[in-house]
C-alpha cells in the first residue's frame, strides 16, 4: 500500500510505502538478492550467471509505474495522490564484496554511461518531473544490502531540495547575472583551501557552507545541467574525480567509508532550467573515526545544521589522501 500525502505545513509530499517494511534486511552472503544466479543455486533478483551492470525496478518501491488508488479520500487540506513514479536499483558489479572504491576506474566510467542512459530514458516519461540518482553506502546510512548498488527515484514532482537549489540559482542569476554554482566554483578556486582535487572538467571541494564534516561537492567546470550534457572527455574526467574522492574517503579512517551520494541535475518536467548547474554531493555520516554525525534537534526539528568542524581543516585532511588514478590498471 503506497500513496503520496501532502504536508501543508512544509509544502512537501511524503510517500507512504508500507510494503517496504518487508524488504530484505542483511541476508546471509549466500542469499544476496543482487548476486548473479548460480546454476542450481537459489534464484536471485538477477537471473543470469554473470553480468556487468544491471538496472531493474525495485521490488519494494516507494513509487510505482502503476500505483493503486490512495486508501484515504483527497481533501483540500489533506491532499493525497497515487504514488506514481519509478524506483530502480542499479547493481554496480557482480562482485558481492566490492565497492566503487575497489572496482577499477573503468567500472565507474561504465556506471556513468548507465546513469546517463537511465536519466535520459526515465526523464522521457510524461509523469516524471525529476530523476534522482543516488547511492546509500554503509549500514550507518541505513543500507540493508551490502552488495554494491545505488538507486534511482523518478519522481512525479521536483523534490524540495532541488526546488530550493533552483530558486536560489534563479535569485543569484537575477541579482548578479551569473550562475550560482559557477560563482561558487570561482570563489572556491580563488580561496583554494577547501579544494580537495581538480581536473580539467570538475572541481571537488568541501564547500564553505558544508553541513557535514566530510561533505564533498563535485562541480562541473562547464555550465551544464545534466549527465546527458557531458562530453566523452567529461565523462572520463568525472570517473577520475569520483574515484579519487572515494579512495580518499576510504583512506581517511582505513575503512570502507559510509556516505550518501546525491546527483543533482535539472528537472525533466520540460521547463527551462538553463540556469541550473550539474553537480554531485556526498554526505558522509562520520565526524571522526569513531563518531557519527546524527541529525538531532536543530537539524531534524528546525532544519539548521550544526557542523562540529571547520571545512578548511577537514579539506586539508581529506586532500592529504588524494592519489592519482590510472586507467587500465585492473
Amino acid at each position: 500500500m503506497s500513496e503520496l500525502r501532502f504536508n501543508p505545513l512544509l509544502g512537501e509530499w511524503t510517500a507512504t510505502a508500507t510494503a517496504r517494511q518487508d524488504r530484505t534486511f542483511f541476508p546471509p552472503d549466500d542469499y544476496c538478492p543482487l548476486c548473479p544466479t548460480e546454476p542450481g543455486g537459489f534464484p536471485t533478483e538477477i537471473p543470469a550467471e554473470t553480468y556487468d551492470i544491471v538496472a531493474f525496478e525495485n521490488k519494494f518501491p516507494s513509487l510505482k509505474r502503476k500505483p493503486s488508488e490512495p486508501v484515504v479520500e483527497d481533501d483540500p487540506l489533506f491532499r493525497v495522490a497515487p504514488s506514481r513514479g519509478i524506483c530502480e536499483v542499479i547493481v554496480y558489479s557482480p562482485h558481492h564484496t566490492a565497492t566503487l572504491t575497489t572496482e577499477p576506474i573503468e567500472q565507474l566510467y561504465k556506471l556513468i554511461l548507465v546513469w546517463t542512459e537511465r536519466f535520459r530514458e526515465l526523464g522521457e516519461h510524461g509523469f516524471v518531473d525529476y530523476v534522482f540518482i543516488f547511492e546509500n553506502k554503509g549500514a550507518e546510512v541505513g543500507v540493508t544490502l551490502s552488495h554494491p548498488h545505488g538507486q534511482i527515484y523518478a519522481y512525479p514532482f521536483i523534490p524540495p531540495i532541488i526546488k530550493k537549489e533552483i530558486e536560489q540559482s534563479k535569485r543569484h542569476l537575477v541579482d548578479t547575472g551569473k550562475c550560482l554554482i559557477c560563482s561558487i566554483v570561482e570563489t572556491e578556486r580563488s580561496f583554494a583551501a577547501r579544494i580537495i582535487v581538480e581536473n580539467e572538467a570538475f572541481t571537488a571541494t568541501i564547500p564553505f557552507f558544508a553541513r557535514y564534516p566530510y561533505e564533498v561537492h563535485i562541480y562541473a567546470t562547464r555550465h551544464l545541467q545534466a549527465l546527458t550534457d557531458l562530453t566523452a572527455f567529461e565523462q572520463r574526467s568525472l570517473a577520475e574525480i569520483l574515484k579519487q574522492i572515494m579512495v580518499a574517503y576510504d583512506a581517511l579512517f582505513d575503512r570502507s567509508f559510509p556516505y550518501i551520494m546525491a546527483i543533482h541535475q535539472r528537472p525533466t518536467d520540460g521547463g527551462d532550467h538553463g540556469h541550473y548547474h550539474f553537480h554531485i554531493e556526498f554526505y558522509p555520516p562520520m565526524r571522526s573515526a569513531t563518531k557519527l554525525k546524527f541529525l538531532a534537534g536543530s537539524e531534524a526539528g528546525a532544519g539548521m545544521f550544526i557542523n562540529d568542524t571547520l571545512p578548511e581543516e577537514r579539506a586539508a585532511e581529506l586532500r592529504s589522501h588524494i592519489k592519482p588514478v590510472f586507467w587500465g590498471e585492473a
Binding site: P47, V54, E57, K59, K110
Partner: protein
Amino acid sequence: MQKSEAPSVKIISERITLPDDRYLIYYTFEVPRLNETPSSAKVEEPEPSEQNV
C-alpha cells in the same frame, strides 16, 4: 593509459521482463580495438573521375 587515449565505449542494453512484470536491463559495453579507425575519421575513397577512368 591516459584519459585522452582511452577509446570511446559503446553501451548496449538488453531488457527483459521479470515474472512479476518488473523490467530488468543488462548493460554491456563494447570497447573498440585501439587500432580501429573512428568512423568519423575514416578516409573516403575518391569517386573515380573522368580523368582516371
